[in-house]
């Protein structure tokens, strides 16, 4: 097995683990192909708080998925080596290892094993919980399922299998919902005119007004101002004769204009009759990643200086991105709900900010999306199946100094916006903040295959659904589901319009402030709560 090549020292005794807000623990450190473990032999009889069964034998102090490690730093002090481990859930801890060679070996093992390239080498392909079974079923939140829900109302739409075998658009699922009048040939033609083949498809059908949210990628207008009749017709089909629609472009007008140089562009007014274009400048890619890095840095600041904190928070611009994301999503929701107009959302690729906007708009509009099941299907439909490249975007979080490639915390921004909505409407969501925090982690490292790969096509190729367990199956186990349920939930059929005033948006403390260890409300945890917190913090690995 090639994993063993990376493990030169598989275990070291007398390693001291120090975590913030907890006493240091001495024990045996062990590196396996996917995990880092530390178990301590019980010499702690004085610790009367522990359960009797924990008093003798080994206690597992640490069980960490190596994929969850964002960065490793090593330092030597005499014959000891210290490794600082920074996790993707923003926790930071230290290991003091006797012996420099062992220390270096462990560190290099962690570095190599936490950055495995091949999907099939990842832990979900090895994870075999006894209590669960892999069931082959229609993926949750599929287009088929969604169409089934709306079919009786949406008589102007149909399910198309034009993308069977992922031949027309590699990042779309096999089934997509399109206007009834549009033939598969037209779709294929339109796909050629859209970046990555992402032709306009239905994202959401608002039952109250019968209006829709669609999404696509940018049209390949280019410098020559190319046109595509099929694409124009496709969008024309969406409108009733005299109706108007809105195209929400997640780029500034200037950026959209510039995109023409590289072959992209936007729908011109003259070619797309009755479609009104609105530009919203949303941050993406590298800038967004840097914003998160600055935010995490601000949260990590140890000077405890108020001015410094506020200026760093401002400088990170993270909350500005939250604000612009929410307000763009609300703009889309407003068009659908208030104006009664169909909306098409796209940026350039249509796999990042586009999905951010369409999914949040649905959360604002539709009470169904705010249920536990509804939220699951929303994420499946609008993120996983819609081809958000999780693998590329969620390789590193914010603590690594590795050179960034395609990382961008788009999904994290989505979860943050969900939290803001949750914060403003604490009764409207069936799920709790805990689920959002859990998802923030699952996207980066997990026992489950749910967030693996970039597209359905890849998942198909690697047989992810056949060979790994689903996070949703685990989550829907009643005992687990309970921890993700909001006890205050009151189903609210109304649209929930959030306030996007700066005064109303907050730092998501529950997620972004985890690096200080588990400190909630400045209270020390009782042993019970500590265990609970530990179980929660490592829920991803311990089963």
């Amino acid at each position: 097995m090639e994993f063993s090549e990376h493990i030169k020292t598989s275990y070291v005794d007398n390693v001291v683990l120090s975590r913030p807000f907890r006493p240091p623990v001495k024990g045996t450190l062990c590196v396996t192909s996917h995990h880092l473990l530390l178990s301590s032999r019980q010499e702690r009889e004085q610790d009367a708080d522990l359960d009797p069964d924990e008093k003798d034998g080994d206690t597992l102090e640490l069980l960490l998925l190596l994929k969850g490690i964002d960065a490793v730093e090593k330092r030597s002090t005499g014959s000891y080596g210290t490794i600082t481990i920074k996790c993707k859930d923003l926790c930071i801890f230290q290991l003091e290892i006797p012996g420099m060679t062992e220390c270096l070996n462990i560190a290099s093992s962690i570095e190599a094993l936490s950055a495995l390239d091949s999907v099939t080498e990842l832990y979900p392909f090895f994870y075999r919980p006894e209590t669960m079974k892999i069931e082959k079923k229609i993926p949750e939140g599929s287009s088929e399922e969604f169409f089934g829900q709306i079919a009786h109302q949406a008589d102007k739409w149909r399910l198309s299998s034009v993308n069977k075998d992922f031949s027309v658009c590699p990042t779309y699922p096999e089934a997509v919902i399109v206007p009834k009048q549009t033939s598969d040939e037209m779709l294929m033609a339109a796909a050629k005119f859209r970046q990555g083949g992402r032709f306009p498809v239905l994202s959401y059908y608002h039952k109250t007004t019968g209006k829709v949210i669609m999404r696509s990628s940018q049209p390949l207008v280019g410098a020559q101002k190319k046109r595509c009749q099929e694409d124009e017709e496709l969008l024309g089909e969406v409108l009733n004769n005299s109706e108007r629609g809105f195209i929400v472009d997640t780029r500034s007008a200037q950026l959209a204009q510039q995109a023409r140089i590289t072959g992209g562009g936007f729908e011109s007014k003259s070619n797309y009759h009755n479609w009104k274009r609105l530009h919203r400048n949303m941050e993406r890619g590298k800038n967004l990643q840097e914003s998160l890095i600055k935010l995490v840095d601000a949260c990590n600041d140890q000077t405890h200086n108020m001015d410094r904190w506020l200026s760093k928070l401002e400088n990170s611009k993270w909350l500005s991105h939250v604000q612009s994301t929410l307000s763009t999503a609300c703009l889309v929701a407003e068009c659908v709900e208030r104006e009664g107009c169909p909306v098409l959302v796209h940026g350039s690729d249509g796999t990042d900010t586009t999905l951010l906007v369409t999914s949040l708009a649905q959360l604002v509009l539709d009470p169904e999306c705010r249920t536990l099941i509804g939220f699951q299907t929303l994420i499946c439909r609008e993120w996983i199946q819609a081809g958000h490249p999780f693998q590329q975007r969620c390789t590193h979080l914010a603590l690594s100094h590795a050179r960034l490639r395609n990382e961008a915390p788009i999904f994290l921004l989505f979860l943050d916006c969900c939290w803001q909505l949750h914060h403003q409407f604490p009764l409207a969501f069936q799920f709790s903040e805990t689920l959002l925090i859990q998802l923030a982690q699952e996207a980066y490292f997990s026992n489950f295959g749910t967030f693996l790969c970039d597209t359905e096509k890849d998942r198909h190729a690697f047989q992810v659904k056949e060979k790994t367990f689903s996070f949703w199956d685990w989550m829907n186990n009643p005992a687990v589901l309970k921890t993700f349920t909001n006890p205050l939930y009151q189903r609210n059929e109304l649209v929930i319009w959030p306030s996007v005033w700066p005064h109303s948006l907050h730092l998501w403390q529950g997620n972004h402030l985890k690096m200080g260890g588990v400190v909630i409300n400045g209270l020390e945890f009782s042993p019970d709560e500590k265990k609970l917190a530990a179980a929660r913090g490592h829920a991803g690995y311990k089963f």
């Binding site: 909350l319 914060h423 205050l488």
Partner: protein, 697 residues
């Protein structure tokens, strides 16, 4: 007759409001001879617009009335005749802005952070209102204050009883004094030693009157060290005073003995802390004026400590800057955070909390007594002592305990309410948000310890409101002596009894007095990111900014519901028992009633949490095209008017008030015109505002 009954005034006011002619009743109204009336140049202006900067709703048109105590704006359009009441005593600044095509704007900033913009069509009317308000909002004599004319329907006996609701003597007994170490001194019986102190003061047993008097002569304004909090568990105490008149070298034997006595009153301790809450530089500067701070060499066994809390002028400016941020028209996130940082407000809050934590730690963990002072010992000292008490003693985290705390550390020890909160037209340099900062410290702690406080945010806001409203006598005047001279207890009503009566509204449903985390000393974290901007206070009137659902209100409703069901159940069980008795007598047996007697939908009404979209369009990022239909959106058309019932439940602030139209009497308070509520506070009754609901279906 000076003390015109509020009822009568309100009744007359209503007559005026209902009468379209206006002139005649106004004339009649003037007969009441209320002091304020002579300053009113124009009692009524029509066709005034009220601008709400957050709401996207069209500015309502209405009529503006000036009464003896309030400005009242009554909307024309809505059937409900929505009213906005503003107490004159709440007015902070008035600004007449340049006339525009639509009229003459008059901006009113209130001390409770409400900002109101009226557009008055005629420049002359605007000027008249402006001149009237300038005089009305700046009373010159105590007699003009609202508390002397405010007269709720309470008989004399009740009123007097209300004043006995709190008893500081009982509070000191609760702490465990007097005892073998501490005694009550009568040295200040006639305010002879210190005119800003109360008459009843607790000092160490060994502090004889000559020592006290000697010490008082060595302290600014005679404010000698006196007991603020006594920690029964370990005998450590918090004492307070003003700065010593030490200059560069002066000493005072009695003062040194006084401190020695305080230390000795904590048997077993080897030293005590003297905490000067000022920045060191300020304290040094005071030495040049013959004041200053204790020299460690002269006092045996003291540890001296500076804690840099800035003075009232810095705090006033800081608040000013923060309020400018709150008022920004459409700030970007960056503007907001930059402005917040630049104001320094949260930094000052943190400094006060840090000081409180230092003292609480010394007392609870080190068992060391602390003497706290600043310059005069009535601003920063009051803040810090009360924060420390709150951290130390769970009692102050109860509703009654909080009232006691304000009475103890603020009212009785001569915090200058009238000067600081500008009750009378006075020196603007004396004004400063001292107690506001304390209130915010409490709120910040509530955010960190959601289960540790019996009271909720609304309580803090209402107390804050009444610090400025001048409606009740408790928080008037600058010292106890002054209050006695003004015969406050005889002539005004007590706030605490009123708040206590309405305590249902102020209870925190998450309060867990028995929980390990809420017992004993609170140990808050003071890393900067735990300090939040208090939108609920500084933007409390911008309803569009607040969360649209409140978990706390929901839990309170559930609790009330449960209680009702419980009572219902008991009543029914009683009935059943009676029935069974009767049946036994008759020798017959009837089947027992099945199922629940009555179904209360505990929360169905809460589904209607009302809400409208915001202006997502005018963001700084991109301007929306002018011809966009979104801007022409006629909100009113798509409104679904709620039933009174749902409205009542959907808006916590409304439910805190009575609903005049539906005639639903609420537990909390009567309508503003009833005179017993918080007129300027929840005076907006608004069934079709942005709070109304759009039902999707």
């Amino acid at each position: 007759m000076r003390y015109c009954s509020q009822e009568v005034l309100a009744e007359r006011g209503r007559n005026v409001l209902l009468c379209t002619a206006g002139a005649a009743p106004a004339r009649h109204w003037l007969d009441s001879g209320a002091l304020a009336m002579e300053y009113i140049r124009t009692p009524k202006v029509e066709n005034v617009r009220l601008i709400d900067r957050v709401s996207t709703r069209k500015a309502p048109l209405g009529t503006l009335y000036l009464t003896a105590t309030h400005i009242i704006f009554v909307e024309n359009a809505s059937e409900a005749r929505k009213e906005t009441w503003v107490l004159y005593s709440q007015i902070c600044t008035l600004e007449k802005q340049p006339t525009t095509a639509t009229g003459c704007p008059l901006l009113i900033r209130c001390k409770n952070f409400q900002v109101i913009l009226f557009i008055i069509p005629q420049e002359k009317d605007c000027h008249d209102v402006y001149i009237s308000l300038i005089r009305l909002s700046r009373p010159e004599k105590y007699e003009e204050l609202y508390c002397f004319s405010f007269n709720p329907k309470i008989d004399k006996e009740q009123r007097e009883q209300a004043w006995n609701f709190l008893d500081l003597k009982a509070e000191y007994n609760r702490m465990g004094v007097p005892n073998s170490l501490w005694q009550l001194t009568t040295v200040n019986r006639d305010y002879g030693v210190c005119d800003t102190y109360p008459t009843e003061i607790y000092v160490p047993k060994s502090a004889t009157p000559p020592i006290i008097v000697g010490s008082s002569k060595f302290r600014s304004r005679g404010r000698f060290p006196a007991l603020s909090y006594y920690n029964q568990g370990n005998h450590a105490s918090i004492c307070r005073s003003s700065q010593p008149l030490s200059g560069f070298s002066a000493r005072c034997l009695e003062d040194e003995q006084m401190l020695q006595a305080i230390m000795k009153a904590n048997p077993g301790s080897e030293f005590m802390y003297v905490v000067d809450t000022r920045p060191k530089l300020n304290a040094m500067a005071n030495r040049a004026a013959g004041k200053g701070y204790e020299n460690e060499d002269n006092y045996s066994n003291i540890k001296f400590q500076f804690i840099g809390i800035e003075n009232i002028h810095v705090m006033r400016n800081s608040l000013q800057k923060m309020l400018e941020v709150c008022e920004l028209k459409s700030p970007s996130m960056g503007d907001f955070l930059w402005g917040l940082e630049n104001s320094g407000w949260l930094k000052h809050i943190k400094a006060i909390l840090d000081a409180g934590i230092f003292i609480a730690k010394a007392v609870a963990e080190e068992a060391i007594s602390v003497l706290v002072h600043c310059s005069d010992g009535w601003d920063r000292t009051a803040q810090v002592c009360s924060v420390a008490s709150l951290l130390l003693d769970p009692f102050y985290r109860t509703l009654k305990g909080f009232m006691v705390l304000i009475e103890k550390d603020w009212v009785s020890f001569g915090h200058k309410f009238t000067h600081r909160y500008n009750h009378l037209d006075g020196d603007p340099k004396e004004v400063s948000p001292v107690i506001d900062q304390f209130t915010e410290c409490v709120w910040q702690l509530m955010e960190q310890f959601p289960c540790a406080f019996e009271y909720n945010e609304r309580f803090l806001i209402h107390v804050h409101n009444h610090i400025y409203s001048c409606q009740y006598g408790n928080l008037m005047c600058n010292s106890q002596k002054e209050r006695e001279e003004m015969r406050i207890r005889e002539r005004t009503h007590s706030l605490w009894a009123y708040l206590w009566e309405n305590r249902v509204d102020y209870m925190n449903p998450l309060y867990r007095p028995d929980h390990s985390q809420t017992q004993g000393v609170l140990r808050p974290v003071t890393t900067p990111y735990y300090f939040k901007f208090w939108r609920g206070m500084y933007n409390r009137f911008e309803k569009g900014m607040h969360p649209r659902q409140s978990a706390v209100d929901f839990l309170m409703a559930i609790r009330e519901e449960t209680q009702q069901l419980q009572e219902e159940l008991e009543a029914q069980e009683e009935k059943i028992a009676k029935l069974e008795k009767v049946q036994m007598k008759n020798g017959k047996l009837l089947p027992k009633p099945k199922g629940r007697v009555k179904h209360f939908g505990p929360s169905t009404s809460d589904n209607s949490i009302a809400n409208t979209p915001q202006d997502y369009v005018s963001g700084s990022v991109c301007t929306f095209p002018n011809e966009s239909p979104l801007q022409q959106l006629d909100m009113e058309n798509s409104l679904l008017i709620l039933t009174k019932e749902t409205l009542k439940c959907s808006d916590p602030d409304l439910s805190a008030n009575s609903d005049q139209e539906s005639g639903v009497a609420d537990l909390s308070c009567r309508s503003p015109s009833g005179g017993d509520s918080l007129p300027s506070e929840d005076s907006v009754k608004d069934p079709d505002s942005d709070e109304a609901t759009y039902v999707a279906a």
